[in-house]
Subunit: 342 residues, 4 copies
């Protein structure tokens, strides 16, 4: 059960609501976000929720049967829109494109990418500066100094930045330079990191775990929301299976299901999902038809020289053709309007 | 190595080619199909294939490095087109739609389905009469008598029939009444069945195994081809993974990969893949963008009364809207033409 | 619900029982096996089963809540013992060992294997003569002629034969020469083959599917039992997962679980499960401690020359040491007696 | 390539070695641990390693072909022994048992557990005070204050403590109270945490990821070692697959493989792996036969009242019987001595 509290609630009213919840043997957790205050109540007893609904100070009240609560569409029917400012939004009808190299390699690399994005009217740049790597002996990113420089360049060009955060201590130093924090697939259940990102007023793009279930992804999103941050974007990036003909099994089923279960926007990462350059375009287009609100793409001026993920990165001219096709496909998708979650 | 033999080859010429192959320590297997005669030669030695290419009786010769040979695009570059007669084909630019109930339940059920297909210009009907079921106590299909009756009804309406064959002994009794034999996911590696279907001059739609790899699917197709039948259609229908939010993990990555590795047409079965009615449409549309040459769909006049797979079956009016959207999406796909395999 | 019918039941009594079952809206299936006659009744209604229990002609009656019925321990508490004659049994306290090459390669190969088994008091020989192979161009076994010859050699030495059957038409020709039919992992859901093996009075060793669930394995066993054959052995042989450091993921969890859910004996196949010779012994010993009633082992006089599975096959002297260790481990296991299913 | 540096190496000698490495186009990483100093060199060129071996200051030099280096048995053949002081060790022949509740719930719960361990001569207690939970609304452990208290109780009774660390900031506050840091399955690729644990002089028990490969587990161990900490224990705890008849698929294959690939000790966690109380004992015994150096067990005075993992936790008297059986099984295992890694 989720109780939305009125903005003008008095502390006496709140106390009485909490008492009523406890009397029902429910456990209330208070949540305050950028947009509102809620009591998330977990328990099992059946009762008439109007009892709570009519109490002074209550905005509205909803049963939520799933384990995740605040991220559920059972409570909030309207699609969440992520507003990055300057008119840049992540929302279904516009189809966000988030493009850039796997990781920023140099200032020159950033410059060329920005030029490419501006030319193609792409508003969000992949700007990874910390890279999680299986082996401790691999390149681990240019680090925070690089981010600072690139951030200035992006601001001058009206480009928003998404960048991966790997640990709690990086949040503060990154906060001024990023527009979206990315949580990578290896950190989807790093609960301390999620808790900390819940206390920040910045959008968080949360990737599905390497073998994470849809349920677990939503519960991880609940960590962020229940700590106070409603600005969450979910990302399907492929899961681990027995098949080894490609990098990951792209679970496009997850897209309509996530959009039906949750009000949060869902983006797809075909580059990591298939991991083979020549097939990225088809899978990006398929993602749009499956209902994705945005597409993450790895692009590079000379992919074969990229420090990492070279084999799945698109060259700029190929990417340009793909952007155009993505937009046409999205236009058709908007015309078709397949479900109420669109 | 695949050696295509000339139609006018003499037995002496063939003998000399085989001797040359054996001398190279290669093992030749002779294959005769509806369309040609081949020597498939397995071995490891490196040599100049022109030695073979210049021999009398040789049409052409190609190295094929994969385990599967005759189904590989390394040998045959052009897309295979499945011609079912009366102008009905399975080929990329037209997008075949194969629709019908999970299994035919009654003559009335068949009548209503045929009427629906005719109205919507759908040319191929799912007409399953033998059903593989996990439990021996479940409905196992109306059997061969039913097929005979429905076949007459379909012929009268210009509808082609695809029907699942479960064992060698059914092939002969079904052959006069079906246009495409379907091999189900539990029989993808039933090698005796594949051998026997190789001896028939009817198209075979081969579903990917429940946890079959892309490589195994192609090797199973090789069984059919190497026994003499070139008319093979591959089908992605979802694989088994840890995720249980849906029926199977729809592996759309497999579509562009299969089309690049093989010249055979590839169709998708979104009904079985996601297994939830409200999401079938999005996944069908996504399949087209991923490059599918055809779509299998479960439709029923009253899905909630269907004997099996009720929860994933579309009602006729929903299906009609989907057919239209599939055709629009395919038109856009043809316009985009993303790869040389289209 | 399973109703065991008395041997002296009259047809009038049976008719009355079936009527009573139908009146309860249950669907009765009659099953006759080597050992008894049963009515397996599927339905949902709650009722007092004593109503049925007190009817003339009824031996006993049990509720069985699982999808599989006759193979369930809910109905039959005592462990099934497979008696192969001449004192050779598959039962917990003796630990059966079933050893031999992956497939019989020649008469000489069979001779050497038999000599090895006799020397080590092993009573059951792996004698595969039909091999399912992913590629149509691989060695497919020496066939039925070979089986006939080897069968004579085995009989002369008191050795029982287990051999894989791949299709219905082979059952009859193999029946005189084998003591146990093996159903391989690719045929676990070949329902026509299972139906046909249900009509034979020979034990059937049923391997778990390549990615088959425990539930599916039991339902496949139900196919055999419900067609009349109670002599079934279940076999864990590894499942397909994302891990590629070995051949299959050996699911030893399945052993105690299968033994708790079913009264059928359960054997383990460590050779196929791990697929790496140097680790087969540890996994065989672990299988015994997990509760296996028998162990399948691939052994060969010169493993490196074996036609198939060379890398997982034990040399005779290594196998001899393992047999001794397996027997010691089983003695300790019998002493410990960990569960009532032992 | 790993170069072990002599303790008395001069800085000039080291410089010359590094120069020689760089000249070979190898990239050297300097590693200092509790026990030695190494240069880990990654590169591809083939050369005669004796060139390096003969240089002043070099202890020895080994080629290591795997991605992980310092944790590989290619370099260090002898089994690593973890010495916890007071005669408590984790090493093959003694079989370590690490037992306790899923998480410490209260001081009373800790007291009863300690009494149980002392009585049964168990030297290491599971003492989790921070719990990673899928849902933010679940019990998250008693925290650092609880650990402090329990630590004193354990010291007074000669019991060593293993406790899970979830983030870098907890390391320092926990360090005085734990004898082994545990890294849970959701943090196996939390590289910042691994880096930080590499700087501590305490043993680290590293659990395999929820769907982590054997290779990834070893690379994660390499993170710890390459930051300076050689005291690492690997733990198999089950992987995620399609099977849902139990909690996780216990990958016992991983035990002999890890022990062959690495010199680090390997323990097994049957409680989490199968997750069903009645089967934990068999799987624990199987783990010993597969070669485990230690066993993690969840035990509780009244399992049905445990705050978490109740269904997989053993009651004290059942656990006592199991300890005895584990020791008998280990004695047999030591007698058998199946591989050189024992």
């Amino acid at each position: 059960m989720i109780i939305r509290l009125r903005k003008d609630i008095t502390s006496q009213e709140k106390k009485e609501i909490i008492d009523a919840v406890l009397e029902l043997k429910y456990k209330p957790s208070e949540v305050k976000t950028q947009f509102g205050a809620y009591l998330v109540c977990t328990g099992k007893k059946e009762f008439d929720i109007r009892k709570i609904g009519f109490m002074p100070g209550v905005g509205d009240v909803h049963r939520v049967s799933s384990q995740y609560k605040l991220v559920s569409r059972q409570w909030k029917v309207d699609n969440t829109i992520i507003d990055l400012g300057d008119g840049v939004k992540i929302k279904r009808d516009e189809l966000a494109i988030l493009a850039g190299p796997c990781s920023i390699e140099s200032i020159e690399n950033a410059e060329k990418t920005i030029e490419h994005l501006v030319k193609n009217n792409i508003k969000i740049m992949r700007t990874m500066v910390f890279k999680p790597r299986s082996s401790p002996y691999s390149f681990r990113g240019i680090g925070i100094e690089g981010l600072r420089t690139v951030s200035g360049m992006c601001k001058a060009n009206g480009i928003k930045i998404i960048s991966e955060v790997m640990q709690v201590s990086q949040i503060e130093e990154m906060a001024d330079y990023v527009d979206i924090f990315q949580v990578g697939a290896r950190n989807t259940q790093n609960f301390n990191l999620l808790d900390a990102l819940g206390e920040v007023d910045k959008p968080v793009l949360l990737k599905r775990g390497i073998s994470g279930t849809i349920e677990e992804l939503l519960q991880s999103a609940e960590y962020i929301f229940s700590n106070g941050n409603e600005k969450i974007i979910l990302c399907e990036r492929g899961i681990r299976t027995f098949e080894d003909a490609y990098r990951n099994t792209f679970d496009l089923n997850a897209i309509p299901i996530l959009k039906e279960k949750s009000h949060l926007p869902v983006v797809a990462d075909p580059s990591h999902a298939i991991g083979i350059r020549m097939f990225v375009a088809q899978m990006a287009l398929a993602s749009v038809m499956a209902g994705a609100d945005g597409i993450l793409l790895e692009v590079h001026e000379t992919p074969e020289k990229a420090f990492s993920d070279a084999q799945q990165t698109l060259q700029f001219t190929d990417a340009e053709h793909l952007y155009e096709c993505l937009r046409k496909t999205n236009a058709l998708r908007n015309e078709i309007k397949y479900s109420m979650t669109d």
